[in-house]
Symmetry: C2
Subunit: 229 residues, 2 copies
């Protein structure tokens, strides 16, 4: 297909496709003439993955490029790709941060994060970027005066473990390594969005039930009606 | 305390504090002279909450202002504040999106989202912004060719429900309404960060265990060592 059709089918504009080609997020098409190339279903599939990572996952172009590079590396196992995806996700705008890392207070929180995870008995690389993020969250909770929320870590862990088990099993069940890796990348980012969304819905349900908004129409005041917006 | 001490104790620079005062995120201090004011522990507590919402939660100044306005409204219940916090969280940079809402394809996904949540039997406002986000995620999964991940919604829901129950119970257990509301605001944003982080750690643990990286030192290749970075 020509670039115009690729654009129509992927929902990505032609200038953005050209940008992804220049940045090598997308492999070049087959050249068929001066300034002409054709693209196939692999380009379409790749563009959809880029779109999901960028627009739904909130990854930067650079972070997207790193995940795709891991995806294209034939030596990478699902375990390695998951590591690359984690590092990309943990650098997203909006990820916890805000405290200068590597100062003494942060180092103490980082050590506490490692110790808390060690107590869970989990196999986690001591250099894992997720431990840095856990240190950020522990420190943020302490700074706003709610350090006790971090004591809930074993409960959150118990909650997250079955989710992670079926997510990893789903990704590694694919026969085609490219499909498996796409599942890891998409599942890591979109699974997080799905879990976060369901948690917000559960908050509303629990809050509506416990505060006496027993019927859905009584739960309505939680959000503005369209007229009020 | 003077603004310099408030800055030192909160970790927020003086120009940023002045900006928050102008934007009314922070109430004015007590005026003690020309160009002089003193601040108390409530300013410090408020600054720490702003910092957590902004830097850890990733909220914009406008979104932070909306959460704080709900916090300051004496008529707002925890249920209302949770709604205000949800709306702020759902507008963060990095939140799912990317598909133009209100087009026919999105509307279909939105109806599917509402139907899937109805099947859970949850009390959720049909206008809830989290349902819009769920529609975004369903659509993104379909576009990248993994619509079946959305079929896991009941599993994610089962996972999220106990988390939401203890989070809401924790927030509403506070006697002081201001403390309760701060817990809702902080817990909604930081609880999400904590759950997301623990999920990444669980992925690593499950992946390391299942791919035969049985000992922590063998799990190490998932992340680069500092020398490699």
């Amino acid at each position: 297909m020509r670039i115009a059709e690729l654009s129509a089918r992927s929902g990505v504009t032609v200038p953005t496709i050209k940008y992804y080609l220049r940045e090598r997020l997308l492999p070049p098409g087959e050249v068929t003439g001066r300034n002409q190339a054709v693209y196939d279903h692999r380009h379409l599939q790749r563009l959809r993955l880029i779109r999901a990572l960028r627009e739904v996952g909130g990854l930067s172009v650079a972070a997207t490029g790193e995940v795709l590079a891991a995806l294209d590396d034939p030596d990478h196992t699902s375990h390695h790709l998951m590591g690359a995806t984690h590092r990309a996700v943990l650098r997203r705008p909006g990820s916890p941060g805000g405290h200068p890392r590597r100062d003494p207070e942060w180092e103490q929180a980082r050590a506490e994060a490692a110790e808390r995870v060690r107590q869970l008995g989990w196999l986690v690389d001591p250099q894992a970027p997720a431990l840095d993020q856990l240190a950020d969250v522990i420190l943020a909770l302490r700074r706003i005066g709610h350090p006790e929320i971090a004591d809930r870590l074993p409960d959150y862990a118990e909650t997250a473990l079955p989710v992670a088990q079926w997510e990893v099993a789903y990704a590694t069940a694919a026969d085609d390594p490219a499909v498996m890796m796409a599942r890891v990348a998409a599942g890591t980012v979109l699974g997080e969005a799905l879990l976060a969304t369901v948690r917000l819905l559960a908050h509303e349900h629990v809050s509506a039930t416990e505060t006496g908004h027993e019927r859905p129409d009584q739960a309505r005041p939680m959000s503005p009606t369209p007229q009020e917006e």
